[in-house]
């Protein structure tokens, strides 16, 4: 869980410096593009472009590897499973018992795998290069209510804390000779109640103090609050936004207006 949360690393790439709103929109546009393309070649090109972005993001090798391992596993799984469920087309290459594996199905499997690869990697790049607070701020700037943005960032902030609480309760229960990981599924589930109940109580107490803290810090005093750090579009942000828009628009035009098979 923490692995998912500390993806961001402080590096000075141009992707780090982009306005988080632009990054968010670009990621959305590229995701739409990945789902719009249906031919393998353009998808492979898109994947190559996205991997180039990943390289340019100067993400640490460890983090990139962690993320890509997940993406590659997903892609392999899709490639292998796709032909089992999609059995249309000819020729039949071979049969596993009653299952006919056809050549077009294999290609469709590979295509879908590449598409998912594009989709997942592009979101990883966003997480690698954008602090959660900037992401939340971008959402608020794009029209999300500040309350929701605050709730979102507070959950980001407290998930690891909650994890630590659970760990320390587990330790405490183990110290009382409760064997959490032994016995049948039912037995183990019952044991975990003795961890979850105190954890939830502790979380509720934290939430209580948090509510009082927010009020004591003048939360909700004015409808229009100010912000210490403003996010502002710079020329490079407009360029990046234009590139992202064109990256979706041009293939869409080619495909749907001029009938280019993409």
């Amino acid at each position: 869980m923490t692995g998912l949360l500390d993806l961001y690393s402080e590096k000075g790439s141009f992707l780090h410096r982009l306005d988080p709103r632009v990054k968010l929109l670009a990621v959305l546009l590229l995701s739409v593009l990945a789902f719009m393309l249906s031919e393998l070649l353009p998808l492979v090109l898109l994947l190559a472009f996205i991997l180039l972005l990943l390289a340019l993001s100067k993400s640490s090798f460890g983090k990139a590897f962690f993320a890509l391992k997940f993406v590659v596993r997903l892609m392999v799984l899709i490639t292998l499973l796709w032909p089992l469920f999609d059995r249309s087309g000819t020729p039949v290459l071979f049969s596993i018992g009653p299952l006919d594996i056809t050549e077009p199905a294999i290609w469709r499997g590979v295509t879908s795998a590449v598409r998912i690869g594009c989709f997942a990697t592009v979101w990883y790049i966003l997480m690698f290069t954008t602090q959660q607070r900037d992401l939340v701020r971008a959402l608020v700037k794009l029209g999300l209510r500040f309350d929701y943005g605050l709730a979102l960032s507070i959950s980001f902030r407290f998930i690891p804390t909650f994890g630590l609480t659970i760990e320390s309760i587990k330790d405490a229960q183990r110290a009382r000779a409760l064997e959490l990981d032994k016995g049948s599924f039912i037995r183990r589930s019952k044991n975990y109640v003795s961890v979850l109940v105190p954890a939830v109580v502790s979380a509720l107490r934290t939430a209580d103090t948090l509510a009082l803290t927010l009020q004591s810090r003048a939360y909700g005093a004015f409808r229009d609050r100010t912000y210490l750090r403003e996010i502002r579009m710079r020329p490079s942000d407009y360029v990046a936004l234009a590139v992202a828009v064109l990256a979706l628009l041009l293939p869409a035009l080619a495909k749907y207006v001029y009938g280019v098979p993409l």
């Binding site: 602090q131 959660q132 607070r133 960032s153 507070i154 980001f156 902030r157 407290f158 690891p160 804390t161 107490r205 934290t206 939430a207 103090t209 948090l210 509510a211 009082l212 803290t213 927010l214 009020q215 004591s216 810090r217 003048a218 939360y219 909700g220 005093a221 004015f222 229009d224 609050r225 100010t226 912000y227 210490l228 403003e230």
Partner: protein
């Protein structure tokens, strides 16, 4: 001017039979450093919530009497408005820091108060500097030590420019060194910025040196109030308050009980030496030289 004034204040939480707090009268002067001592359930937290309006605005119960903050009736203002007069620091470091960086934490209050951006930036630097966290703007609060966390919580209150700080057992989770650091910062705020400081604590010994006054709270009532030396001189107050008296003041009261003359009331080793030397019989003085 009085920073905090309570008249005939009573409060009880829903379903309680007695009063959680029952204070006929309490005044805290502007610029005073007051320590409120009391055992579990004495009403320390309740008193601090009354001071910034959380009681009765946000925490429900039966409440009576009047609370005035710098001559403003607390009941006529929202908690947010009172936050510019009274800064609150809570016991739990973890649950009162909810941002991803120290800077955001300190900026949160003034942002809510719609303070202009460059003024917020100034206040962030100022407040972090006052609590000894200069340059830590980007640090994630969860990576700070317990003492640093509490100091960050103080900075987050200071950035709203209050004239009084109310701290509910701020040193609860700190080691002795962290405690003294914290109290020293509070004491500097009082001396250099005229801040009124009200600390709810059990740590009588360490706070004696910093406080102008000790108020002892037991079962929701004030049982003693006066200069630390005077309150500590009578260990009875502290015992009933469930606060263990400083060892030196116990020594003083034990010596006083066994001999004639004015009672001894030293609190520090230096005072002890001075008082014992003056009061000791002639031959002991010779020997000790």
């Amino acid at each position: 001017m009085q920073a905090l004034r309570l008249e005939d204040v009573r409060f009880r939480y829903p379903g309680m039979s007695g009063w959680a707090l029952d204070i006929p009268s309490l005044g805290i002067g502007q610029g005073e450093f007051v320590t409120v001592l009391g055992p579990n359930g004495a009403g320390k937290t309740t008193l601090s919530f009354l001071a910034n309006g959380l009681i009765p605005k946000s925490i429900k119960g039966e409440s009576e009497g009047s609370v005035e903050v710098f001559e403003h009736k607390a009941s006529e203002y929202s908690v947010a408005q009172l936050s510019t007069l009274v800064g609150m620091v809570f016991q739990e470091p973890e649950s009162q820091l909810f941002c991803m960086s120290a800077e955001e934490e300190v900026a949160f209050g003034p942002e809510n108060l719609a303070v202009p951006r460059d003024e917020i930036a100034r206040r962030v630097e100022w407040a972090l500097g006052l609590v000894g966290l200069k340059g830590m703007n980007g640090r994630s609060p969860s990576t700070l030590s317990g003492g640093q966390k509490q100091r960050l919580a103080i900075a987050a209150a200071l950035s709203m420019k209050p004239s009084m700080l109310v701290l509910d057992e701020p040193a609860y989770a700190l080691d002795p060194v962290g405690r003294i650091e914290l109290y020293t910062i509070l004491s500097d705020l009082k001396t250099n910025h005229g801040m009124t400081v009200v600390v709810m604590e059990r740590d009588a010994e360490a706070l004696a040196k910093f406080s102008d006054r000790f108020v002892v709270l037991v079962g929701g009532r004030i049982t003693a109030s006066g200069p630390p030396a005077a309150v500590l001189r009578d260990p009875r107050f502290l015992k009933e308050a469930g606060v263990s008296p400083p060892q030196l003041s116990e020594v003083a009261s034990m010596i006083s009980a066994r001999r004639k003359g004015p009672p001894l009331g030293f609190l520090t080793v230096e005072e002890a030496v001075a008082e014992i030397m003056v009061n000791a019989p002639r031959h002991t003085r010779m020997v000790s030289r």
